[in-house]
């Protein structure tokens, strides 16, 4: 029993790592992708559109496999053991960046043009206007959909099993098969639930913090 929990615990750590690293990379990357999507340069706009279409239009599981095997099949590089985890983070980050990009875009485009005009007449340059005036308002508006994506991400971490990264769910399945009991799976379920409860709680705190204005 004790070893069951220690095994599950090591899986939890891997799941949490995938989750945190993916957020760390995909949130800023999503902003860059959003800028590309709104670029005045048509070529950039189209490239980013195609990228988003592929990321949203194909299974994340398939993307994991592609990212994992691409170095070997495309470049002939031998895949090392440590690349597994890196591949998971790359695949998750570029996938979630596409979703976050569209959330950012919806937020940015919902800010009234008068805010830009007021900033311009007051002499703010473009960078100042975006980071001081526009972006703080965007964050407030996009928190609910970002919470949604973040919660989905917690559950999506279980997809890492497809390239044999031993995250929480992979281990729970192995234990369940060995013990011919669903206990480990139930524990795994509880873990995801509590994890997401915490995520939702933290996001709600952010929302409350930003509720001082309309």
């Amino acid at each position: 029993m004790a070893s069951t929990f220690s095994q599950l615990a090591s899986g939890m750590v891997v799941s949490a790592e995938i989750f945190l690293l993916t957020l760390l990379f995909s949130l800023p990357l999503g902003l860059i992708v959003a800028f590309g999507r709104m670029s005045k340069v048509k070529v950039i706009q189209w490239i980013v559109k195609i990228y988003i279409a592929i990321m949203r239009g194909t299974p994340l599981m398939l993307q994991l496999i592609v990212v994992y095997f691409a170095p070997y099949y495309v470049f002939g590089v031998k895949i090392s053991q440590s690349y597994r985890f890196v591949a998971v983070i790359i695949a998750f980050s570029i996938n979630y960046a596409a979703y976050f990009a569209e959330i950012y875009r919806s937020g940015i485009q919902s800010i009234p043009v008068g805010q830009y005009e007021a900033a311009r007449v007051l002499g703010y340059n473009k960078t100042q206007t975006f980071f001081k005036i526009i972006f703080p308002q965007v964050i407030k508006r996009i928190l609910p959909p970002v919470t949604n994506e973040t919660i989905t991400l917690v559950k999506d971490t279980s997809l890492a099993f497809v390239i044999a990264v031993a995250e929480m769910f992979t281990i729970a399945k192995q234990i369940a098969a060995k013990q011919a009991s669903v206990t480990a799976l139930m524990v795994a379920g509880l873990f995801y639930f509590v994890f997401n409860y915490v995520v939702a709680f933290i996001m709600e705190c952010f929302e409350k913090k930003l509720s001082y204005y309309n």
Partner: protein, 256 residues
């Protein structure tokens, strides 16, 4: 002969949207230091557009925009050519703009709305910016609202904050784009009072408005626009007593 300095001169401004919507056909007028000029006219006459062009929010097709003798836009072979970005930035410091819908920054407190551009753009130290901001708020009866957020204020208060925000940067000219159109009559009064206060202090102002009585009281000159042309540009009493049938009709309608 009027020897006050010319702060703004507009020469033959032309602006079309698309092929055939000629919003501004040929607009010229000038504004001297300390003058209050009201721009009136029916909807679609180009009042707001001329203000947007003068403040460079909208680019003109042809004509000249000259601030303090410096060309922001020059007419070259029938097309407007703008000064360099750097020059325009410098020229932009001469004016401020008050919007119809205030456009305050909702995530900033009142005092931060008034002082942030001073600190971020003009590089004034924070203490001094706040001191200047509080003086302005105090002048407009808003000192006790300094730490409130725009959403906690009435429309009239918000508009007074936005006037304070524009004045904080100490512009030589202040533009108003229908400053009271989003307000009910009671709130309109408090905003007009502030503008009158500024007029009495000889602030140079260009005001697009529908408030005829106010325009008559506060203005040194009234410019009447129709269909993208200046119909009259004269002292208020002369505009109100004009023989021009169209102008009489317009003013008569609004007074009745």
């Amino acid at each position: 002969m009027d020897d006050r300095e010319v702060l703004l001169e507009l020469r033959s401004i032309k602006k079309s949207f698309g092929e055939d919507v000629h919003v501004l056909k040929d607009i010229s007028f000038l504004v001297r230091e300390g003058e209050v000029v009201s721009i009136i006219g029916p909807s679609g006459s180009g009042k707001s557009t001329i203000l947007r062009c003068a403040t460079m929010l909208t680019e003109i097709d042809d004509g000249e925009i000259i601030y303090l003798g410096q060309n922001a836009a020059t007419s070259v072979n029938g097309k407007a050519v703008y000064a360099s970005k750097k020059e325009l930035k410098e020229i932009s410091k001469t004016f401020g703009l008050v919007f119809q819908s205030f456009n305050l920054f909702p995530h900033y407190s009142v005092i931060k709305n008034v002082t942030d551009a001073l600190i971020t753009v003009a590089g004034v130290p924070k203490d001094e910016a706040v001191k200047r901001g509080m003086e302005l708020l105090d002048r407009f009866g808003l000192a006790d609202k300094a730490d409130n957020y725009p959403c906690e204020l009435s429309g009239g208060q918000q508009q007074r904050v936005s006037i304070a925000r524009a004045l904080a940067l100490q512009p030589k000219i202040l533009f108003f784009d229908e400053p009271t159109s989003a307000l009910d009559p009671e709130l309109t009064g408090e905003v007009l009072k502030v503008i009158k206060q500024l007029a009495s202090e000889h602030m140079t102002m260009i005001i697009v408005t529908h408030e005829m009585q106010f325009a008559r009281e506060v203005s040194d000159r009234i410019v009447f626009l129709e269909n993208g042309n200046v119909v009259i540009d004269d002292a208020p009493d002369k505009v109100f007593d004009t023989d021009n049938k169209r102008v009489r009709e317009f003013i008569g309608k609004l007074n009745s």
